[in-house]
Symmetry: C2
Subunit: 436 residues, 2 copies
């Protein structure tokens, strides 16, 4: 006979009272593994509850692992084989042997990615007081914090609940419109349907790889090029065709010969303030690159990560501005001018291409976060973005002049050479071999 | 002789004045393609500027595509072959033929992903006044808007500039600590180093696939299962081993035989409120599933997308709570309880596994957005999250009771059958074939 009571005055449902009492009996040892519980009907009667209440209690006890058999038949008390892992946070019993060797379980591409990142992090710890000249990120002290705060507030206040829901996988329409206007200022005519909002330019490149490159497919890249893009190509198993950089950009004779040997999935290029060399290509270089790819029908991935940062002289328009055949996939970002933590960039490409990239993004992460997009849209609409870009130009023009002056003053030209960039954040020093 | 003047009173630099005037001369037709410009020395003298000023002007004109040769030698005026694409937004000249067939250029996996998403979207347009019962998302009208607004504000105010910078690729430490505490409430003991913040649970699954599954590798899944996970497995080229769902969860006899035939990259399971069947597995099912995978050393990906939403009866702890061999990769999310647009989830797994996932995330998108993480951390710390979960339980318990009552009242059991779920948002109706 089980010692179970139902308290009819309690707000706890009757079935839950049965569950709680059986659990207590098991844990106190009054019921041992193998003990048989009464049939549901036999328990319901003395307790004065409907049989379905006991069935529900037994089902719950079964789910919790206290009963052996399935509800309906005779139920016996079960030994819970597994207590929750009681690993103490510090000290205590030694942790048991892990069963998976994650290094061996990882694919070879992801193993390599991990090793690369680990090496980068190891070499990137600058001692206090040392300026890390290898790191490329917007100076977050310059971020327009007050304006961002105000835009976040107004976006939440104005749009209310709908911006808390899943957004469009392509990004909020309003922000895509603002980006489309922004692109027009750079001579690029794209409609909001030809824009996909991404988590920074990096995600744009990742999605393009997923769309166009099977493992083993060739991708033509400048050599040297942006290390995180290079790592991403390798992660996707791309066969890299490295086209050397010259003082005026990628060596187009070499590219032409390479394209003649076979079509790569795409050509990846950074025409402005190339990372790491700082080279900005001229109009005629861009025309020829486009013409070469048009002839072979090879997509161009144009990484415009610092499009806005031309603060010396006049702007050379993006390759995308001349892209009548719609083969250029332009990747832009707000992170490098505004602030890194926003992680909002975009892809501008043919609608057919953007639709497919959006489908892949749906699978990769459903949709981008909506609040930041709404705030960034406000930020553009209120003119804060234009004002911020002008401010960044003033500041970085000065900083760049100071850095170049210091180089001229302190670095012996017999030891190193460099090009003066037209903007951006990069100066590429090439150390010369010592002369005998 | 060029008609160029330098206005010494102007704030425009001398080199820029030269550039502007040459551009005007070319665009007015005064200088034609092929015309030779004076040598830099020959122009510098009459203008009274240093030769380096003219060199800089010519370099700029070359970059802009107005000059043919490289700076230094004789420069001739160049025909700009490509005006910016002047595609009018509406009407105007017809768009030229696109050069890339994006459907053909796409990999077969991404083609299929696009077709799937398109089909889903086509069937998902509910007429006004119709409730879309196929869609699974938190009701955004229930989102705690005021609290979220206040947390965003305080996060920005308190942390200032540093949260605008790139964050840790694993996610902010403070939020990982909060998640680690949250997991402990579910019987899972993980340190912040064993947590990776992701863009929703979906990105967690995507990263796990990148880490563990080469194209063609087997993945064991429940059948049926969550459609977006299924699509993601296909996108990665996984060979699916479909293990049928029964009323108590995945058929473990079938899984055992399948594991004996060969190790899959991992087993994917949704033990709570399984999508789409609504089944929650019991303690003994979880123990046996874990034991099977331990014996074969196969990782388990446990999708706990609605862990918090057990509002009937007591909670069955996650498989991860018993995971002494550290082979369970747990994917959680805030989107389903809090609000969908936040897109913040996490992975809890062995540190060795999390480190590798973080390296992959670095390549995929550098780092997650920091502001939302900081706000969400505040939201947890202030107790808003616990309060919100209780409120959601009250509301959805009531809603589920109403829905189940309506089913019992209006749906003939000869036509359809269903199981009453222990929580979550899902009821799975199985239509019966008509009897003759």
């Amino acid at each position: 006979m089980l010692l179970i009571d139902i308290d009819r005055a309690s707000t706890v449902p009757a079935y839950q009272q049965i569950v709680d009492q059986v659990v207590r009996l098991v844990e106190d040892g009054a019921l041992a593994a193998g003990d048989r519980l009464p049939a549901t009907r036999a328990l319901a009667e003395p307790l004065g509850v409907h049989r379905s209440t006991v069935i529900r209690a037994y089902a719950e006890l079964w789910a919790l692992g206290y009963l052996e058999s399935r509800p309906g038949s005779y139920s016996t008390v079960r030994q819970r084989a597994r207590p929750p892992a009681t690993r103490a946070p510090e000290g205590g019993t030694p942790a048991p042997q892990p069963l998976i060797d994650w290094e061996r379980a990882a694919t070879s591409a992801s193993r390599r990615a991990h090793a690369d990142i680990r090496d980068q992090e190891r070499t990137r710890i600058a001692p206090a007081g040392v300026i890390d000249l290898a790191r490329l990120a917007a100076d977050s002290r310059l971020a327009p914090q007050d304006e961002i705060r105000s835009c976040l507030r107004s976006a939440l206040a104005r749009q209310g609940a709908e911006i808390l829901d899943y957004g469009d996988a392509r990004g909020c329409l309003a922000l895509r419109e603002a980006i489309s206007r922004r692109m027009r200022a750079h001579g690029v005519s794209v409609s909001p349907d030809e824009v996909l909002v991404t988590n920074g330019a990096q995600q744009g490149i990742d999605l393009v790889l997923r769309l166009l490159a099977r493992a083993g497919d060739a991708v033509a890249v400048e050599s040297p090029t942006y290390s995180m893009a290079l790592g991403l190509f390798r992660l996707h198993g791309a066969a890299l065709r490295e086209i050397p950089m010259r003082a005026d950009g990628m060596d187009l004779d070499r590219l032409e010969r390479s394209l003649a040997r076979g079509r790569p999935a795409f050509v990846y290029t950074v025409p402005n303030f190339h990372n790491p060399t700082g080279v900005t290509t001229g109009q005629s270089h861009r025309e020829r690159l486009l013409a070469l790819c048009e002839r072979r029908r090879v997509p161009i991935v144009e990484d415009g990560f610092e499009e806005e940062m031309k603060y010396f002289g006049r702007v050379v328009l993006p390759i995308k501005s001349m892209d009548e055949g719609q083969l250029v996939i332009y990747c832009g970002t707000f992170s490098k001018v505004l602030f890194a933590g926003a992680r909002i960039g975009w892809v501008a490409a043919a609608r057919e291409c953007v639709e497919r990239l959006a489908a892949l993004r749906r699978y990769a992460e459903i949709a981008p976060s909506t609040i930041l997009q709404a705030a960034l849209h406000d930020f553009c609409e209120r003119g804060y973005y234009d004002r911020h870009v002008s401010r960044m130009h003033r500041i970085f023009r000065r900083r760049m002049q100071v850095a170049l002056r210091a180089l001229r003053r302190h670095v012996d030209p017999a030891w190193a050479e460099w090009q003066e960039p037209g903007g951006g954040y990069l100066i590429w020093l090439r150390l010369k071999p010592p002369r005998r």
